[in-house]
Amino acid sequence: MKGISYTASGRQRKERSIRLVFFAIALASIITLGLILLFLFMEGLPIFKKVSVQDFLLGKYWYPTDDPADFGIFALIMASIAVTGVSAVISIPLGVLTALYLAEAASARLRQWVKPVVELLAALPSVVIGFFGMVIVAPFLQDVFNVATGLNLFNAALMLAFMSIPTICSISEDAIFGVPAELKEASLALGATHWETIWRVIIPASISGICTAVILGMSRAIGETMVVLMVAGGAAMVPGSLFDPVRPMPASIAAEMAEAPFRGDHYYALFATGIVLFAFTLLFNVVADYISNRYRQVGAATL
């Protein structure tokens, strides 16, 4: 009797080598990311030999080219937060309500058309949006609100809202559309109206997805560079009104990096600003990830 052979064959060795190849490919992007981070910290941390972390983060004056120079990025941080916050106030209702409409109210045919169009908004190069903000929106704001410059916090927030709406809308729509039809039917069968069903069943069941969408949209807004560089106005001061010109962190880095002497204090300070910016986007993504895992169980019955 020959019996069945259990020993490893060539096929299994092939399986193993395929797995190795995929592992290596996955590793490549992780290593790249790690190297970029390493570089960011190596080039950013030296500034803290000159300025304390506290003075850097909370210092109100950003005069990197003066003598003696001031490296306080508080105004830049506040500008980033203000621009992102105002843009969220615009983009969250628009994005989430559009998603609700598409998932719940729009006909299948309309949804088929509108969703890709909304997603296409995300494909607009940011420089085009910035250009639009500069040439069309800025003069408009200047006239209508009678402000000194149309290149200001509000303009930047508006343009960033345009950029985050597709993210918010698309991911929210997936979450809302993914609520099991069984839950919706159960609600309707109990004599709930469509609106009651949306408000009491569909939104609670998809809230984690909606939150994730919102945070990813905002993380896109806070890291966006070209738009704020073009339309935020560029003044490194803590904003006092909606129509003040501001200088968010990415704009500052992009505008000054070319003129900062290589490995000088200014150069280090800009990289340190990059570290702060990275901390913000990392925080957003971790929170988004946490929320989407925390409230994952939304489905119908699990037997």
Partner: protein, 253 residues
């Protein structure tokens, strides 16, 4: 009009776009009786069930012809408010589908959307419904915990309690035991027996023994047509038509 007829289906046709799923269905549902709808998959029994509370309204490009009379009034009449109608006709689905909320909130949901605000009234009605669904003893200590933590059989009884809470007159059940084990199934069947004292019940089932056990009247469907309807005893012992006897003895379907 015969007052014991709760609901009557009158010459009902149903279309999914171009496909006709139901052909001229004529059927009466008697008060306080259990009517079982049986037949092979795709025969239209679930479609018919979902016509009875206008759940099929949700399906795009679908169309209904004919009448469904609830106590003599056509539910497809343009003046009928479908939301109010559904409050009078409870439904239990194939897969247990509790909301991702607490046990209490699941049952209270229908009360709240129907305008009940008084906390003590809601609490009272939740307890009553859970008792009616023979679930109270098992969940009374975890009533504010998530309903998703219950077993499949408990979840399905919770869905029944949820449907009963709004005090419907008719309860529609779409294969309510198909996702449950035999013990849970037995509990639901016992429950159906008790419920018919108060409600008119229509149940779709794939399980022939179940139809024989729980129902008073059985209607056999095939290819979108009602083939035969009669007292359950008669359908399972001396059916008039050969198709029916072939199906219930397992020769096809």
């Amino acid at each position: 009009m015969d007052s014991s007829i709760k609901m009557a289906v009158n010459d009902l046709d149903f279309f999914y776009a171009d496909f006709q799923a139901l052909h001229r269905i004529l059927l009466k549902f008697t008060s306080n009786q259990v009517t079982a709808l049986i037949g092979p998959s795709g025969c239209g029994k679930s479609t018919l069930l979902r016509c009875l509370n206008r759940m099929n309204d949700l399906i795009p490009y679908s169309r209904v012809k004919g009448q469904v009379l609830l106590e003599g009034r056509n539910i497809y009449d343009p003046n009928v408010d479908v939301v109010t109608l559904r409050r009078h006709i409870g439904m239990v689905f194939q897969k247990p589908n509790p909301f991702p909320k607490s046990v209490f909130e699941n049952v209270a949901y229908g009360l709240r959307v129907n305008g009940m605000r008084d906390r003590s009234m809601i609490t009272e009605r939740v307890e009553k419904s859970l008792k009616q669904a023979a679930l109270w003893e098992e969940v009374k200590d975890r009533i504010h915990e998530s309903a998703l933590g219950l077993s499949g059989g408990q979840q399905q009884r919770l869905c029944i309690a949820r449907a009963l809470a709004v005090e419907p007159e008719i309860v529609l059940m779409d294969e309510p035991c198909s996702a449950l084990d035999p013990i849970a199934t037995q509990k639901i069947e016992e429950l159906i027996h008790q419920l018919k004292e108060k409600y008119t019940i229509v149940i779709v089932t794939h399980n022939m023994q179940q139809a024989a056990r729980v129902s008073d009247v059985t209607a056999f469907f095939y290819l979108g047509k009602l083939i035969e309807v009669d007292e359950t005893k008669k359908i399972f012992t001396r059916p008039s038509l050969k198709e029916t006897s072939d199906y219930i003895t397992g020769r096809f379907g």
